[in-house]
């Protein structure tokens, strides 16, 4: 085995000591002399490259083969550059070792020239940088892992370089704030998104931490992507640069809106309570309180620590509490609750506030008392009320005697006391009334009605009927009230004879009814007048206008043909006027002729006659008519009118039936309050009453594109019915049939 000398390098003595020290520090030295076909390596190079000297021919090509294939190109280019351009280099590359492992090498190459400036050789150093590379990649891994944790915790991380104003964001900014890392932007963008009300304070706090290069912990509202402010908890620390001043700010923030909201709700709940609340911690310090507690105690509750308020408290009998009573102080010694303790506390001007106090010690898991909750209820008003009550009981007697009405006090109906007034109203003596069931003073049919009000504690006045000792009845107004009396809840009832009032009330309501009837009648007459105006305006004036125009046309006609055409049209217009005038006359006759002869008519016979008249239409349309007149078989009515009503309703029902649906007409009578009502329903097209309701019974109004619509029938029968003191109305929905309801005697009950 040929042992290669340790330094088989063609180097000077100076150089050799340098190479030795290089070797000693674990690095390798090499040189490549211009013109030579081998590279000279020191021992360490062989070791680094993991080849044995005898196995390696030291040629450039063989050397390149040791390099990781992906770095080979880079190396050859660098070395070629060094030779051709005389450029020194430093390069990092990988080796693929025989065992398959990767080694990182850093190589430095220096061009060495002779005194004439000619390149004589390249010399260099190589060293193993694998472990350094590992640290680098570990750092990258660490950052990834940290990001992962930040993400899962919903935390936004940042690294703010103070000088440049740049911030590197990481973590869950989209999830938390809706912004991508890029959108989070620099320090200005961050500052702008802080709620204006919080900005100044937050920045001041951070500036102070920056000045001290210290930790910080702030919270502020921050506008998220959708423009909503959320509460952010932001904490971290400043790092100093070489000058000792803050250079970097590292921190994280997360959304604490939910937590704040929950805390806020609890605080709000307590502050809004109408009872005072104090919560002490184990050090006797008040940690939670509310306005009411402050108001009741007349003390700032946070000033209560260590205060022996006990000597300001008094018992119900007016004696003072002792400090040792520990009413308003926390004590780890006492685990017992205090319940319904009434204490008085002096406020200014010797006024005493009365309080009901409850306290509840809270224990931790070990059973040690660690908190005390005290609630305070102000009962000063109640106490005053109690005192007042005693006086009012005294006053009651004299008052009830002076009252004009009757007053009785009863306990579950049994009269226990009453005044003279009640005796006068009911006719019983005082002695008779005491012990009597008060309900016996009420007319029998109203007793359950009155009892109901006693049981429910009804307190408003109401009318009923009373019965006197002699059996006479009278109108009575009662007003009862439940009151504590001699320690019991009894009912005080006031009786008032309202017979006179009732009588005049009745008179008024009769007059009212008469006025309403007159008003109705006037309205009807007014409606009819309006109707006539409409008829004259449209139905008469319209053809007259045509006649005027046509006359002008005739005057200007040149040919006979023209003239005769206009004359024909003149005739049409004149005929229209005539027919409207006939209809008007007919209606006027109906309205005037209210004394038209009436006879007893059978609905059944009238229907039979109508069916005969409409025979063709009924057969052609397959109409089915179902009639039921059993509830009211006959009516005393003008025959012509009843014929007309029946004919119009039935012919309308057939005329406005749905296409291809045989009409079914149900016609029946009924009697309500002595008035005969006839209803006629069909399964036809129906009418949009919202649109057409007002015009339904008017002259020449039609609601369907039907060739035979003339709009006369309903107008006419409405007039007939109204002339006889009745009414007609319709109920309908489009496509859902129509029901006409004829009330024959609405305004004229017989």
């Amino acid at each position: 085995m040929r042992q290669k000398p340790r330094l088989s390098l063609k180097i000077s003595r100076n150089e050799s000591s340098l190479v030795e020290s290089i070797e000693n520090s674990g690095m390798g030295f090499w040189q490549w002399i211009v013109g030579s076909d081998v590279i000279e390596w020191s021992d360490q190079v062989y070791k680094l490259y993991d080849v044995k000297p005898k196995e390696f021919d030291c040629r450039y090509e063989s050397y390149l083969k040791l390099i990781h294939p992906q770095d080979r190109n880079k190396i050859s280019k660098t070395i070629e550059n060094a030779f051709t351009k005389g450029k020194n280099y430093t390069i990092q590359h990988r080796l693929k070792l025989k065992n398959g492992k990767i080694k990182w090498i850093e190589g430095v190459g220096n061009i060495i020239k002779n005194t004439k400036g000619k390149v004589t050789k390249i010399a260099g150093i190589v060293r193993d940088i694998t472990s350094e590379k590992k640290i680098e990649s570990d750092r990258a891994n660490w950052k990834n892992r940290f990001d992962l944790i930040a993400k899962s915790a919903g935390v936004v991380l940042y690294d703010y370089q103070i000088k440049s104003g740049k911030i590197q964001w990481s973590g869950e900014s989209i999830e938390t704030l809706g912004y991508t890392h890029k959108e989070m932007g620099n320090v200005d963008a961050w500052e702008k998104r802080i709620h204006p009300e919080d900005r100044e304070q937050a920045i001041a706090l951070l500036d102070k931490a920056m000045e001290n290069v210290s930790r910080y912990d702030v919270s502020y509202r921050f506008k998220n992507k959708v423009g909503k402010y959320i509460h952010l908890h932001d904490r971290g620390f400043f790092l100093a640069g070489e000058d000792g001043k803050a250079q970097t700010m590292l921190g994280m923030m997360n959304d604490i809106s939910d937590r704040l909201e929950a805390e806020g709700k609890f605080q709000k709940l307590i502050s809004e309570l109408t009872i005072g609340v104090l919560v002490y911690d184990a050090n006797g310090k008040v940690i939670v309180t509310n306005n009411k507690a402050q108001e009741i105690l007349n003390y700032h509750p946070f000033g209560l620590v260590g205060l022996a308020l006990e000597n300001k408290l008094m018992k119900e009998d007016g004696t003072r509490y002792q400090e040792k009573d520990l009413i308003l102080q926390f004590s780890t010694r006492s685990k017992s609750k205090k319940k319904d303790i009434i204490v008085g506390i002096e406020h200014e001007q010797q006024k005493v506030k009365w309080i009901i106090l409850q306290s509840q010690p809270l224990t931790d898991k070990q059973g040690k008392v660690n908190q005390l909750v005290v609630t305070l209820t102000d009962i000063t008003e109640n106490k005053k009320y109690q005192t007042d009550l005693i006086e009012s009981e005294k006053r009651f007697r004299s008052l009830q005697e002076a009252s004009f009405g009757g007053i009785g006090m009863h306990d579950k109906g049994i009269i226990i006391d009453c005044n003279q007034g009640l005796c006068e109203i009911t006719g019983y003596s005082y002695n008779e009334l005491i012990g009597m069931n008060g309900l016996n003073l009420i007319a029998e049919e109203y007793r359950s009605f009155v009892l109901e009000r006693i049981v429910s504690g009804y307190e408003k006045p109401y009318d009923t009927e009373g019965i006197k000792k002699d059996g006479t009845r009278y109108f009575l107004e009662i007003r009862g009230k439940n009151t504590p009396y001699k320690g019991k809840e009894i009912r005080v009832t006031e009786f008032r004879d309202i017979t006179e009032r009732k009588k005049s009330e009745q008179k008024i309501s009769e007059q009212n009814a008469r006025l309403i009837a007159i008003a109705e009648d006037l309205k009807l007459k007014n409606d009819q007048l309006e109707e006539f105006t409409q008829i004259v305006s449209h139905n008469l004036r319209s053809p007259v206008g045509n006649i005027i125009t046509l006359l002008e046309f005739i005057e200007n006609s040149v040919t006979e043909a023209e003239k005769s055409e206009y004359l024909n049209l003149l005739k049409v217009s004149a005929e229209k006027i005539q027919s409207t005038l006939t209809e008007l006359h007919e209606v006027l006759r109906i309205k005037q002729n209210t004394n038209i002869e009436k006879t007893n008519l059978s609905f059944f016979e009238t229907l039979a006659a109508t069916k005969l008249l409409l025979h063709t239409q009924i057969v052609q349309s397959n109409t089915i008519i179902e009639a039921d007149f059993s509830a009211c078989e006959t009516i005393f009515y003008p025959k012509v009118y009843l014929d007309s009503i029946m004919l119009n309703l039935i012919s309308n029902a057939i005329k406005y039936s749905k296409k291809n649906v045989p009409p079914i007409i149900r016609i029946k009578t009924e009697k309500k309050n002595g008035v005969c009502i006839m209803t006629c329903s069909d399964n036809g097209l129906g009418i949009d009453l919202e649109k057409n309701g007002q015009k339904l019974f008017k002259l020449h109004k039609t609601f369907h594109e039907h060739p035979e619509s003339r709009g006369i029938g309903l107008f006419m029968i409405k007039n007939q019915i109204e002339a006889m003191g009745g009414s007609i109305k319709a109920e309908s929905k489009v496509n859902n049939g129509t029901t006409f309801i004829v009330n024959f005697n609405e305004y004229n009950p017989t």
């Binding site: 409409q534 004036r541 319209s542 206008g545 125009t549 217009s573 020449h700 039609t702 369907h704 619509s709």
Partner: protein, 131 residues
Amino acid sequence: MAAPIIALIDDDDVFQLTSSRMLRAINPELNINQFANGAEALTFFSENINNPDLLPDIILLDINMPYVDGWMFLQDFEKMKVNLAKQPTIYMVSSSIDPTDINKAKENEQVEDYLIKPITKAKFEVLVNHQ
């Protein structure tokens, strides 16, 4: 400019005839569309909602008509109007001198004016030329 299109919405045959003739005498080019009631007109307008060449410039609308009268026409027309390719001028035309009718028409923002029948040729001339 093409002669205006006039829609006559009236159930009165005689009025339709005399009015058309007077209008033609004023301007033989006039395009006159006749409708016997509001429903017919509404149907035509909705069928030609995007066609300004067929929609009227002037509507002469009668109040008293069977089925869909002038008032009902105005109600439905108001809903249709926004989508209509042409916005016509509406005149209410009626024989009624009842102040109730006149005021009701004048209060309606869609109605340009209320004309009382009979309408003279001179009045028609103003209408057509005003356009």
